[in-house]
């Protein structure tokens, strides 16, 4: 449903990273991850240390990944589901226990990130990364913005804006503005949230993940996007800015899980343990510009990231971030409203 990537979306691209060192007899490890959601340097470091070759395939949504794993014989060892999908996969018996929570280095992990209801003691998965979903805008078009209301006002003033092509994220904006939970299954609340989007629909240019280049060029004034937008803000500081809207926003978190039918179980567990090291988690954040649940790692990351309020917000802002849970059957309420939003013109 959401895309956790920091650069351009291309769900169809699937590529393998072959470690720099010579292939070894230590075997291999097959990762199935969101597009551009891990620093290749992490994989290289793992191969250099262990001699294990790492292959990487990518997906564009939790559902795409789930369908592939459910079909069986995927050959993958590790996947990166969002927390609610972690629960779903656990319920479906697709995950293997790793006892990662018992590892001495697990003390590095901030316990508040062990979120999955089905895995309260981290017997299965390792919290991987987290971030928020806010707004990126072009500073040459609009000087200052800090709320969802600003975004829609900007749209009403005739500037183009783009929202994410994602039912829960986009209807979630309505929930946040109405003060209801983004996980609400109350039909009236969901309809009311969708009404906010419908009311502003005429001023929404598109629902798309591919908005960053258009914001940079000024073709679009602002876009609903992930915290990873900070990478582009850093590259174009005079043009771009990213903020977490003052009404609140959603956050996401992915966990690193080993599959029950992983062909390289030992290597997979070894990778989870490898990623517990603060310097490795920090290496990943350096390129990904997102949040890590690894506390000592936060001391190792570059200060401009650690001090960036949009990446590591204060606790009061953090408290306003809501995370999606799985809705089961009630997901259909959102799909129904989403279809209705996208078909009204």
């Amino acid at each position: 449903m959401d895309i956790r990537k920091s650069t351009k979306h291309c769900a169809t691209s699937a590529f393998a990273i072959f470690a720099a060192s010579a292939a070894s007899a230590e075997g291999e490890l097959n990762l199935y991850n969101w597009g551009d959601y891990i620093n290749p340097a992490v994989l290289t470091a793992f191969t250099e240390e262990t001699g294990i070759d790492v292959n990487l395939d990518t997906y564009g949504s939790n559902e795409e990944m789930l369908a592939r794993i459910q079909a069986g014989a995927s050959g993958y060892d590790i996947v990166f589901p969002s927390v609610h999908m972690h629960d779903v996969m656990h319920t479906l018996g697709l995950l293997a226990p790793t006892n990662i929570g018992q590892h001495p280095d697990f003390a590095n992990i901030d316990p508040q990130f062990v979120r999955a209801e089905t895995d309260p003691d981290a017997e299965y998965c390792l919290p991987y990364a987290w971030g928020n979903v806010g707004v990126v805008y072009n500073r040459t078009i609009v000087e200052n913005m800090d709320s969802w209301a600003d975004l829609f006002d900007l749209a009403a003033s005739g500037e183009r804006i783009i929202l994410l092509d994602d039912s829960r994220e986009t209807i979630g904006i309505g929930h946040i503005m109405n003060g209801t939970s983004v996980n609400s299954t109350d039909e009236a609340e969901v309809v009311a949230a969708a009404d906010i989007i419908r009311a502003n629909l005429a001023n929404v240019s598109a629902f798309s993940y591919d908005s960053i280049p258009l914001v940079i060029s000024g073709d679009v004034a602002a876009a609903h996007w992930y915290v990873g937008a900070n990478i582009f803000v850093q590259q174009n500081p005079d043009v771009l800015a990213y903020y977490i809207p003052s009404e609140g926003a959603t956050m996401y978190q992915e966990d690193m899980c080993v599959l029950a039918d992983a062909p390289n179980m030992e290597n997979a567990v070894q990778f989870l343990e490898f990623y517990l090291r603060p310097e490795i988690a920090a290496l990943n954040v350096e390129q990904q510009m997102n949040g890590t649940p690894n506390i000592p790692a936060q001391a190792l990351i570059p200060s401009e990231i650690a001090n960036n309020q949009t990446i590591y917000p204060d606790d009061d802002v953090l408290g306003q971030l809501q995370i999606f849970v799985d809705l089961g059957q009630d997901l259909r309420l959102y799909n129904r409203e989403w279809t209705s939003i996208r078909t009204s013109q």
């Binding site: 591919d210 259909r332 799909n335």
Partner: protein, 307 residues
């Protein structure tokens, strides 16, 4: 036993040998998936994708009108989206036809070497990823894109045209993607057109327009219809172009189907929507087969019996 000894028997065996692989191929890669779709469309959706093996008619009920529960409600929107897709697909067909028909005549009059070169050019886009080519169109159509810059530079417009994320952009994108499919059958029938028939028509007193309407059009009709159908079918079910160039503000039936499989976790409903498209395509294919049969007759007719 006796059959294999005779010539007839050997012929039958050879025919059997030749036809078996394609039959198996079609069976495995076309009919089986189609069968799965049909079966799934009558099953209950699984909570996390997949299906529950209970007979369930509400997938069609949602589209056609008898579903009414918290989770399964009839909504005319699916039929509206389907009709809107038909309209966009038809517009795409007409636009690509208007581009390809004169081009086919133009290229068919060239020397063989230039002909091959142009035919190669028309297939060239296939060497580049579709998604990359569509993003190139975003660069062309956006307000600060090449098209608007060019038109404003030439003083034709003063404000950038709103093309990006509109029906127009989707139609341009689909016509661009499917032009080779329109061009090739059209070209085949235009190239076959006997120019002496055109001369005969003029000789018999027909003006250019009359010649076009009475001779050229009917003689190239199989190519026009063939190309139109081959463009119409993938346009109708397309979801990549409306999501990239339409910014998902232009919703086609293909996007709805994609959404059911990739985010709504409702495979049976996706299958039922797919069957709707399938039914439309089947009707068209039957029309096509009838026309191709007619063309066969034309083809025979153009061979004058010697003597």
């Amino acid at each position: 036993m006796s059959g294999l000894e005779t010539n007839e028997g050997r012929k039958k065996l050879a025919l059997f040998g030749l036809l078996t692989p394609p039959t198996i191929f079609l069976g495995v890669f076309f009919l089986v998936p189609l069968g799965i779709m049909v079966v799934y469309s009558f099953l209950e959706p699984g909570l996390y994708g997949g299906v529950v093996w209970n007979f369930y008619d509400l997938n069609y009920g949602r589209i056609l009108g008898w579903a009414d529960s918290r989770y399964e409600q009839f909504d005319p929107v699916y039929l509206i989206v389907f009709l809107r897709s038909v309209k966009l697909a038809l517009t795409t067909v007409i636009l690509s036809l208007f581009i390809c028909y004169p081009a086919a005549f133009w290229i068919s009059r060239m020397s063989d070497a230039r002909k091959s070169f142009f035919l190669f050019l028309i297939t060239l886009p296939f060497f580049v990823s579709l998604v990359v080519r569509l993003f190139a169109w975003v660069l062309i159509l956006r307000p600060t894109g090449f098209l608007n810059q060019g038109l404003m530079g030439a003083g034709i417009i003063s404000e950038p045209l709103e093309l990006m994320f509109t029906n127009t952009a989707v139609v341009i994108g689909m016509a661009y993607v499917f032009i080779p499919f329109m061009f090739l059958p059209l070209y085949a029938s235009v190239e076959k057109l006997d120019m002496s028939l055109v001369e005969a028509s003029a000789d018999l007193g027909a003006t250019r327009l009359q010649t076009f309407r009475r001779v050229i059009l009917p003689m190239t009709l199989p190519g026009i219809i063939g190309g139109s159908i081959i463009v119409f079918i993938p346009s109708l079910g397309n979801f990549i172009v409306p999501s990239v160039l339409g910014g998902s503000r232009v919703l086609m039936i293909g996007n709805l189907i994609e959404q059911q499989f990739l985010s709504a976790r409702n495979w049976p409903f996706g299958s039922a929507l797919g069957m709707l498209v399938m039914a439309a395509v089947l009707v068209l294919l039957m029309v096509y087969v009838r026309i191709m049969t007619k063309e066969e007759e034309y083809a025979n007719a153009t061979k004058v019996k010697e003597g």
